[in-house]
Symmetry: D2
Subunit: 154 residues, 4 copies
């Protein structure tokens, strides 16, 4: 499966973490979010695509997926992208995140691709594109986020 068009992209082998390892990490460490059932779809060096299965509990009035659920997914996708470069880093923390909600996401699964734009010694910065799962690949995203992660131990 091909990843995003990025200088950081690469194949699975080059990534510093694999999908099952990342999935078990979020289930153990952030049970609150682990319970969402987030799955790794694909990943490479510098990027990771997650799939959030649809859940009734995620809906807000009007029948769209609620904003905080999309934020949580974006946050995990960026965390995953960082881990594809630096490996398992339990204590890495989000230091800031900006999210723009572009279209009301319908009651279905959501895909999120996190991609690093910078990996420094102390900070990583990247963006996340969130799309509805069943929409065509040409459709505009449902949300877009950018964020900064503080790298531990530096």
């Amino acid at each position: 499966m091909n990843g995003p068009d990025s200088p950081d992209s690469g194949d699975n082998e080059a990534a510093a973490i694999d999908g099952p390892m990342f999935e078990s990490l979020i289930r153990e460490q952030v049970p609150f979010i682990g319970a969402y059932g987030i799955r790794v779809e694909s990943l490479g060096r510098g990027w990771m695509t997650l799939k959030l299965p649809f859940g009734e509990a995620f809906l807000r009035p009007g029948g769209s997926i609620s904003g905080p659920v999309l934020f949580a997914l974006a946050d995990v996708a960026l965390y995953g992208a960082v881990m594809t470069r630096i490996g398992r880093a339990d204590m890495a923390v989000t230091s800031s995140m900006t999210i723009n909600f572009l279209h009301r996401p319908p009651a279905e699964a959501v895909l999120a691709t996190g991609r690093l734009l910078k990996l420094g010694r102390r900070l990583a910065y990247g963006e996340v594109v969130l799309s509805s799962f069943e929409s065509s690949s040409d459709a505009e995203p449902v949300a877009h986020a950018t964020g900064t992660y503080a790298i531990p131990g530096n």
Copy 2:
């Protein structure tokens, strides 16, 4: 109880929604977040202070409250501040939010005060200050958010 120092501040009577009404609204409409047990501490025209009780499930590695939980709280606090001006507006939606995580919040309750800086015909904009409950009032906040809400029916 005094509210924030703001031109929009006022007493309870002037607000377009009251605490119990807002609490029941979030329990009914966003059950996912309603289950957090968020309570209204105080409110006035243009602002609302919420309290998120501590819950083990909110913790992330290192023992601090996880970022998506703080985001959800900030989102609800700004939604509440909008409602103190325009009343019950089920379909109002967040259009963007920027959150900065400033200090790791300890394992205790969190207070969030949302305050409007602009209420236009179609958009509201405001900020949210999040603090640890037991910290002194002089302490720096644990997080700070700004966001835009789209006003329905316009």
Copy 3:
């Protein structure tokens, strides 16, 4: 000429404005920024690449291009991307912008590519990637911005 990898990309013919028209527009309408000497490098439907020539006046202590200059360039690049879709829209205004400074830009020209991620009836949203002109295409960008433009007359 190839544009960014985007569903909105297209050839010059499809764009609602051309380079010389856009350049004269910014010189006439925002003389303060027009004086920077910004040039259109290439454009297509939904995106525009600008080049800011190097100027001594743009430097800040340490010899890198100052942040407000990069912000101005990003703002114009997103304005340009909007115009490639809706044509000349004098009164369109930025409603918000988030910029992250990733690497100190050396004392040389800067390229900025603005790209729309959403074009709605009232709002457009997009991102801007800023790079140093002489750096290789593999290098990390010097800055990244996202922003919202209010569409006039709606």
Copy 4:
């Protein structure tokens, strides 16, 4: 002279820089912005209020002050707020800034008050409120910004 309602506020004596020193610093070091004629109105420990005199060159179509000019002012106001705590720090750099344009600023002077919300060892975070000079103090701000500054030598 009273400063903003903040735990960081204090009197002039406690601040680590004074107005004339800061004004000469920006004239020497960032001539591009120094030429705007920005003046320090007042300052205290953790905050600084600047005044940007009106200039014809700052106008954009429609007769309001252009966004990049407001951004530059906000950036300098936050830089100033940092300096009131850590003193002259030539190499401090903005690492990110989010600005929301709330009302079109009329063709008059603009006031900007930067205020720190966090001062850490490596990063400072604060907000800036921008208002039209001649508007009443009750008026909504014309813009609001938040930003992060990297502290040098750490």
